[in-house]
């Protein structure tokens, strides 16, 4: 009987990860029991999604305005300090001093928002590695992400004025199977002995294995994960960890590019609005006894 919660927990985890492998979106949709594409008969205006549309338009406007302000040089709020990102410079510097490589992986998922964030940070890491003349090893699990990662690193070396230092063989596709990839990275850690290990993406059951194997090499470890069922393994084994949404602010924070910074500021405005809406909805539910009337209004 004592094993029942363990078994349940394992299968919940397993199911969650299988879903994540198929599609991060479907996982979220299943979790929230939200309408899925097959639930709808295609219509130009989908009933029940008016407020969804309004929120998306408001988000576009907020981001658009902030990007324009940033491009025009008008003042916009600055992104606060993110400790994990400041450590990237330190980690690459340490690798340079030790004459050892930097390892970077954009995570286990295919093309999702998380992977895009990982690739944006990869670009900055590659630029710094090229400037410091430090070898950068990138490993990929997704065949589709591999050519994009190669392009990103190549472009970063070009922008750093070191196109000759780019070695396509250092951006490696290892295996698309979860634990094959994991075991290959473990072996790579031991053979290449990276002085900095940056795992930046969506990680599942391999999170602890990779972080622990990285710690064995004595590398400075920086992790970022959006998987709430695995991020704690990074927190206990890595030196710096970016939690969930922090990943998305990272690229803007590192690059200081107006478009990215404006996007983060616009999203923050929206988040503040959502926070206020939650407070309002909770007060409504407490005073009126139920939030159903408000929810019905927002589901129009």
């Amino acid at each position: 009987m004592a094993f029942r919660p363990v078994v349940d927990s394992f299968f919940f985890q397993f199911t969650e990860e299988v879903n994540a492998l198929s599609s991060l979106f479907y996982l979220a949709a299943a979790a929230a029991k939200a309408p899925k594409p097959e639930d709808f008969t295609p219509k130009f205006f989908q009933p029940g999604m008016m407020w969804d549309a309004i929120f998306v338009v408001l988000l576009f406007v907020a981001i658009g305005v902030m990007i324009q302000r940033a491009r025009a040089g008008l003042p916009i709020p600055a992104i606060r300090k993110l400790a994990g990102l400041d450590a990237i410079d330190e980690a690459i510097g340490r690798a340079t001093e030790m004459g050892r490589p930097v390892h970077f992986s954009p995570g286990m998922s295919g093309f999702t928002a998380v992977t895009y964030a990982g690739l944006a940070v990869l670009s900055q890491v590659a630029k710094k590695a090229a400037q410091y003349d430090t070898r950068l090893l990138v490993t990929n699990r997704q065949p589709l992400v591999q050519p994009v990662a190669q392009e990103v690193v190549k472009q970063a070396y070009l922008e750093a004025g070191r196109p000759d230092a780019y070695n396509p063989d250092d951006v490696r596709y290892l295996s698309d199977a979860q634990f094959s990839y994991t075991v290959a990275v473990m072996g790579l850690y031991q053979r290449e002995k990276p002085a900095a290990n940056i795992l930046y993406g969506y990680w599942m059951a391999e999170a602890l294995i990779l972080a622990e194997a990285g710690a064995q090499t004595g590398a400075i470890q920086i992790g970022a994960n959006t998987n709430t069922f695995q991020i704690h393994f990074f927190i206990v084994t890595m030196d710096y960890v970016l939690i969930g949404e922090e990943m998305f602010a990272a690229a803007a924070y590192m690059s200081k590019e107006p478009v990215l910074t404006g996007t983060v500021v616009g999203q923050d405005m929206f988040k503040i609005g959502i926070g206020l809406l939650i407070v309002f909805g909770t007060i409504w539910a407490t005073v009126a006894g139920s939030s159903q009337a408000l929810v019905n209004f927002l589901l129009r």
Binding site: S9, F25, P35, A177, F179, A184, T228, T286, L299
Partner: protein, 200 residues
């Protein structure tokens, strides 16, 4: 090969993989390369027999679904990256895939998002609901990056959000570590009971 021989091989490979816990060694390296090779070979075989052959023989040839040739050709363009001068063609399937992902997310992610917001509208009539409300709001505050957190409500919201998240991660850590222990117990059972018959 008998079933028992398969069990011996499985047990031996498990121990060779675990030898990494001591340090990297030739046995681990052999297991690593064998595992990657097997998975790759299995993946190629599986894809060929379960995707490629049925699609070509049934969906395209038998059912006349010739429109499927178009995405197949677009997909094959990804190999153009190996042909000097034609590399640009390999970006077409990438662009298609990324555009599809972005459009799909924009159309359907808000519904998921809205459902989560609506589920947060709860009555503050129990201690559980009050804790839930406080953690939700302060966690949102933790993830606001452009408002200074050095003073005022943001400072306390940020701290409270961080502690709320850490408590949540701690509970998940305990739960999943227990699950991993059950996996180790299962594997030990495989070696000691199924393969070596040392325990019943």
């Amino acid at each position: 090969m008998s079933a028992q021989t398969g069990l011996y091989i499985g047990a031996l490979l498990t121990i060779m993989a675990w030898s990494f816990l001591y340090k990297e060694n030739p046995f681990f390296r052999f297991t690593e390369h064998l595992y990657i090779g097997l998975v790759t070979a299995y993946g190629v075989g599986y894809t060929y027999h379960n995707n490629l052959v049925p699609i070509v023989t049934k969906d395209i040839v038998q059912k006349g679904g010739y429109s499927l040739i178009i995405p197949a050709v677009v997909g094959l363009l990804i190999y153009a990256r190996y042909v000097r001068g034609w590399v640009w063609l390999s970006r077409i399937p990438m662009a298609f895939w990324i555009g599809y992902g972005a459009g799909y997310s924009l159309a359907f992610t808000p519904a998921v998002f809205m459902k989560q917001i609506f589920d947060s509208f709860i009555r503050l009539n129990t201690i559980n609901n009050i804790i839930y409300f406080l953690v939700v709001v302060t966690a949102v505050m933790f993830f606001i990056f452009t408002v200074k957190k050095e003073s005022g409500p943001m400072k306390w919201g940020h701290y409270a959000g961080r502690y709320g998240l850490m408590i949540a991660f701690g509970s998940a850590f305990g739960s999943i570590t227990m699950a991993y222990l059950s996996l180790i117990i299962g594997r030990l059972g495989y070696i000691l009971r199924d393969a070596l018959h040392l325990i019943k």
